[in-house]
């Protein structure tokens, strides 16, 4: 009898605790924490113009998507401006992507991310990309894209990351690289293109795009997000990389696992463009200080699966020349990848996007103190090997 009473009492206590917990968990306790009183931001664009920070955000309440705008001297001021303009508190914890305007310098980006990260306003894993023009314009077009297709720009950027052809840095990546000894980072440049389907004319937010991406829209107007094969370097200077330089950078990026490579293949006196997909890769950068110069060993090994298999097989029709074909293909892809690596090595002389100074500091802090302030005199020892499958 006594044991039964105790069990009943324990059950009542347990139930009471569960109820208290659920009630407390369901209530935000203060009105400001209600979801309806928040501007739930899914993507944020940051521009810097004449010392004024302009924020443009894609917000979503689960049913509708809209763009909102605020500005101020600092990011926190601009956020406050947003709160006041729209009468709701800006909530960035679920923001998946930050788009930096093409005009943003390394200092602008660093200050903006510092403001957002140090107050834990955004998640450290938030993607950071660049638009070569105004980020505000990009976000407004992204809202159109979201309204039309039902998926936000964050989903597309996440897809670009998982589809392995593009490196998407997180906010903490960018911040760490800018604060590292190398003091430079590279942001992938995304573009949204609006085209008039009737006339076929395009109104690109960024110019110079090449294929891929996703599109949506009515028959009159089409909004299209293109996959980026370009990147923007920000450090002591800021500039956009060519496609070949970007591919070289992606090759050494740990986040980008693959990607498509075109190479010019010559066989039996005929020249063809063959497309290959990097199915696996391994890269290594070793840096040493020798004879007053920084010497970097850039090593890349890749397994490439050539896409247009029938073109290659056709060449060996009736002949037992598979090994020869593979060898010539490997040579062609090695030549192409070596070119990409050489290109990005040249970029590194201007801005240390490969993180050579950081690597030297990590391996030998004493040598780091002795190196010259720039890498203009750096030597590169490049080794690329390719296997085709």
């Amino acid at each position: 009898m006594k044991i039964a009473n105790r069990k009943n009492r324990n059950r009542l206590i347990s139930a009471a605790i569960v109820v208290i917990f659920i009630v407390l968990a369901m209530t935000p306790l203060v009105p400001e924490a209600e979801v309806s009183s928040c501007l739930m931001v899914t993507a944020l664009g940051i521009d810097s113009e004449d010392g004024v920070i302009k924020l443009t955000a894609e917000t979503s309440d689960g049913t509708a998507t809209e763009s909102v705008h605020g500005e101020g001297i600092r990011v926190t001021d601009a956020m406050q401006d947003l709160n006041e303009r729209y009468g709701r508190k800006i909530e960035l914890k679920h923001c998946g992507v930050i788009v930096m305007g093409g005009e943003m310098s390394a200092d602008d980006i660093s200050f903006a991310l510092m403001s957002l990260l140090s107050e834990a306003a955004i998640n450290a894993g938030c993607a950071v990309v660049s638009s070569s023009a105004q980020a505000g314009e990009f976000i407004q077009k992204a809202v159109k894209l979201t309204k039309a297709s039902g998926s936000g720009v964050t989903s597309y950027i996440g897809f670009a990351d998982t589809s392995s052809s593009v490196f998407i840095p997180t906010a903490l990546n960018v911040m760490s690289e800018l604060r590292s000894k190398s003091a430079a980072t590279a942001l992938p440049v995304f573009e949204i293109v609006e085209s008039d389907a009737a006339t076929g004319s395009q109104n690109a937010q960024n110019s110079g795009s090449d294929g891929g991406g996703t599109s949506s829209g009515s028959s009159e107007e089409m909004t299209e997000l293109k996959s980026p094969y370009r990147a923007r370097v920000v450090g002591s200077t800021a500039f956009e990389l060519s496609e070949s330089e970007t591919l070289g950078l992606m090759l050494f990026s740990k986040r980008a696992n693959g990607g498509l490579i075109n190479t010019e293949w010559e066989y039996n006196g005929e020249s063809r463009i063959i497309q290959g997909e990097i199915s696996s890769k391994s890269t290594d950068i070793k840096v040493r200080y020798e004879g007053g110069r920084v010497i970097a060993e850039l090593k890349a090994e890749a397994v490439i699966r050539f896409v247009d298999r029938f073109i290659v097989i056709e060449q060996g029709n009736g002949e037992n020349v598979i090994n020869k074909l593979a060898a010539t293909l490997e040579e062609a892809f090695t030549r192409t990848l070596s070119g990409y690596v050489r290109d990005i090595a040249e970029v590194t002389r201007r801005e240390d996007v490969l993180g050579l100074r950081t690597k030297l500091y990590q391996s030998s802090p004493q040598d780091y103190k002795a190196i010259p302030p720039d890498l203009a005199s750096a030597g590169f020892d490049i080794s690329v090997s390719v296997k085709v499958s």
Binding site: I20, A33, A120, A124, L172, M175, P365
Partner: protein, 373 residues
Amino acid sequence: MDRVSLRQFILLTFLLGLAMKMFNLPVLMLRLCGRDAFIVLIAELIIDLILLVLVVLVVVLSGGKGFYELIENALGKVTAKVTAVVAGAYCMVKLYMMLVDVRLFFSNTVFPSTIGALHLIPLIVVLVCFALKPLSSAGRLSEIFSLFVIVGMVLLGVLTFPHVGFDGLRPLLADGPDKVFEGMSALFMWFGDFSLLLILTGKTDGGKKALFSLIAAVVSFICLTLFSAVLFASYGDVPELLTYGHSISSISQYAVGSFRFGRFDLVIFSLWLFAVFLSAGMMTLFFSRSMSYAFGAKAGRILTYALGIAMFAAIALTINLNLAVEWGMVYFAIPSAVVQYGLPVMGIVALIAGRVRGSIRRKSENSEQKKQE
């Protein structure tokens, strides 16, 4: 039944090895010592392993006596009661620091716009209940909770390790060893949780097999070291970015990108909270048992209720949580080191004193017997 099985003892060791260190400690260490935090962590964990060896020796060699009973027999009742009061006070302050840590974490990461202290009410109620239950409750909970904690760690490992470059851990000792010494002396409060296992002295099955708990501790420390290394490598260049609210679980977001997995960190730290709960429960239980020994069972019970109320009031009234942590590091570091490392040493001294006294008694009995013969 007021006992724990060998398996439960091992699992409790595993959870105590992780609990208080998995939330904000790596962040504090990085802010305090920079990349050298890695060396500080390894050194502190080695000290903790030595502590565990002492604790397990006390547990194994106690001969079925409780911790305070052991001290009472060897060093007298007054010493035992003073030890109980000091240990209780230590648990009280440490529990406060732990709950501050939890509240800080929640207020920064989960509910930035709410009054965090109210969320502690159910936790404190359960902690008080936990403390007043037999030890078998703690043992059973350790069996249930370990599973959740292991799942949380596996998830975090899968999400982070392939994506993080451990090169960021270097260079170590770039500015000399000063920061290591500074960190070592300031961070004692966050270690030494194994001393809580002393309350299981005389109440653990398995005899010498309790030494297997060392393996559990090593496993938990390897996990802790790896996850901390991830944080040190990732935030090494930007330690100023870290607020106390960041934790190792946030790293999953950084490593894989929240744009791919959403707020997966919330799931992971929800799993870790089980370890934190158990650790806080063991502190409350240690306090309750110590007070019961020092002032009697009824007073111990009342003081445990009082502790719950006082904890809630203290945390609700703590306006600046970060300042509380910093004060704790300044004023509580040395006292906590003295108590948490002193308790098992005292246990060992009591064991030795008990044995010496026993052998002297036996010798004198033998000599008296011979005289009589």
